[in-house]
Amino acid sequence: MMTLKVNGRDHQVDAEADTPLLYVLRDDLALNAAKFGCGLGQCGACTVIVDGKAVLSCVTPLLLLEGKQVTTLEGLGSIETPAPIQRAFIEEQAAQCGYCIAGMMMRAQALLQRNAKPTDDEIRAEMEPHLCRCGTHMRILRAIRRAAHLMQTADASTVQRSAQ
């Protein structure tokens, strides 16, 4: 039994120390935004934020999360009140099949929390670990730029809500 802090709440989790965070999020906590893609930390679909950094949850065992804050896409906003990053992805229609998008948004969120005005080169370098087979890359890049803009303007209040 260990305590896992997810989206600002403590959860008592009954799982082995080597269980990947992704399994716990999806199977035990019903947080299904993070996706199982490759299971090898190579595609980015499972990305969540841990203590402000983008982390591949499929290769991160519970053992490493003692005392750390996990944020998933559900922790950023909801359908009713989307966070700036979510609004930006919707407004740019950046998803096609959508499987990679939750991971993309989480890494972009971590980037924008660290660097409010990234250059295009910085965005591309940061997003490089993420695969998208539909090919919506250009829309994703636009959405990240839009999110950066949104966060600096009207919606700044919602940005840091739970993604520490």
Binding site: V59, T60, L63, A125
Partner: protein, 453 residues
């Protein structure tokens, strides 16, 4: 009074004579500029050969910066004397080598002097390139002069006095630059000689794999005893190698050809760039390098051979011994690493069994730390090993505990000291490296692409 004047005069004469000698040693004439030759004036076959040679010389790695244009320079190279920026070697007339005649290019490779007569810093490894023959210099010149010209002015080096004075380099050369192209050893095979010519010359393996003295020159008495490159340790590649399984010519060939070997693991860091560049080069040259280097490693002693057999047997049975070491490290290994590294699948489908890892047997923990932090990137279009990096999910204490455990379990060496600092430094260096190094190399792996200039 009189004596004083005589002494004073003698001192003055000595100073003047000394300056004249220093000037004679340091001064090099300028070579007249030419109008940049048109690319079509170069023979296509020569350009193609130059391309292979430039790959062997690993030229693009230093002369290209991250997200910069090929060969346009600007890469900061940290040295103990300050930071030196690589130069633009595209044929741009103003900022590159477009107006250099072949004689000036050859002089730069042979003796480290640019067209205008300035001494070049030995970060440019002309102590090796001086061994390259005229024919290959010509091919390299043809290749570089037919690249896309890029306007990219040089960055100013950041060196402290006296190292910012280029005449100082002339003194360095007196001590450490031994000119003369490679002379074959008639008692050895043609393949061995080809390998020696490439390794000692253009490939400049010793530039990283040989330790350097206080003046930054390779220590001839410790050739290939291990050095460093870009915050990675470059392993000893002679009889002092700590590789759990001794290297032989076949293993070296496979490793240099594909970038990994099941009994040795994966080329990482700067060596990954070397093998990526080598993917352009014909098998025969890789084979020659492997043959020569196998001789440098020498045959394993009976003791090493026995230990190697033990390790290989242990890898097959893969039973974990109980160890009274860092419990935290053991738990992290079991949870985060063992699933791949003890899968029983050989590279590239599983992680290498860490009992085979040189990184855990060498005195320097940096390579192991770097690999845990950044993982191993996939090479586009190739069936190769991969590993996720753990920089974001493990903190320094966790990585230090893991390294401590790995060292105890998988090597017969004493524990590493100061691991948390090593990891902290590696984390910092990695961030700097990612900001400045060339992006991932997507050299075509398809052999049919290799003869295209």
């Amino acid at each position: 009074m009189m004596t004083g004047r005589i002494v004073g005069g003698a001192v003055a004469a000595l100073v003047v004579a000394g300056m004249a000698v220093a000037f004679a040693i340091a001064w090099r004439p300028s070579i007249a500029a030419i109008d940049a030759p048109a690319p079509q004036t170069f023979d296509a076959a020569l350009v193609r050969r130059g391309r292979d040679l430039a790959s062997i010389g690993n030229c693009s790695t230093c002369h290209t910066m991250r997200s910069g244009k090929d060969f346009a320079g600007g890469l900061p190279v940290p040295t103990p004397f300050g930071t030196i920026y690589s130069s633009n070697i595209t044929p741009d007339a103003e900022t590159g080598i477009g107006r250099w005649p072949e004689a000036a290019f050859r002089r730069a490779l042979r003796s480290g002097v640019d067209r205008s007569g300035r001494h070049l810093y030995p970060t440019f490894p002309y102590d090796h390139f001086t061994k390259v023959n005229d024919e290959d210099d010509r091919a390299l010149y043809a290749y570089l002069m037919t690249r896309q010209p890029v306007r990219a002015p040089a960055y100013a080096n950041q060196l402290s006095f006296p190292f910012d004075q280029r005449f100082v380099v002339a003194g360095w050369k007196l001590l450490f630059l031994h000119g003369g192209t490679y002379q074959p050893d008639s008692t050895k095979s043609a393949e061995w000689n080809r390998g020696a010519y490439l390794v000692e010359g253009l490939a400049h393996c010793g530039a990283c794999h040989t330790p350097r003295n206080a003046l930054g020159a390779e220590r001839a008495s410790a050739q290939f005893a291990g050095g460093e490159a870009d915050n990675w340790s470059a392993y000893a590649i002679n009889a002092q190698s700590r590789a759990p399984v001794p290297w032989d010519a076949d293993a070296l060939f496979v490793y240099l050809r594909q970038g990994w070997h099941p009994d040795h693991g994966v080329a990482r860091g700067p060596m990954a760039e070397v093998v990526s560049n080598l993917s352009d080069v014909p098998d025969s040259d890789i084979r020659a390098i492997a043959t020569y280097m196998a001789g440098v490693f020498g045959p394993p002693t009976p003791d090493r051979k026995r230990r190697s057999d033990d390790v290989l047997a242990q890898v097959k049975s893969s039973s974990a011994p109980a160890l009274p070491v860092s419990a935290a490290g053991a738990a992290i290994y079991q949870a985060a690493c063992a699933a791949c590294h003890e899968s029983g699948r050989r590279l590239p489908y599983g992680g290498v069994n860490l009992a085979l890892s040189s990184a855990l047997s060498v005195p320097d923990a940096r390579n192991a730390a770097n690999t845990i932090l950044s993982g191993i990137r996939p090479v586009e279009g190739e069936r190769g090993p991969i590993m996720p990096g753990f920089a974001a999910s493990m903190n320094n204490a966790q990585i230090a505990a893991l390294l401590d455990y790995l060292r105890a379990r998988f090597s017969s060496q004493l524990p590493w000291a100061g691991l948390e600092q090593t990891v902290a430094d590696a984390r910092h260096a990695q961030i700097v490296f990612l900001q400045t190094s060339p992006g991932p190399n997507n050299t075509p792996a398809d052999a049919s692409q290799r003869d295209k200039p």
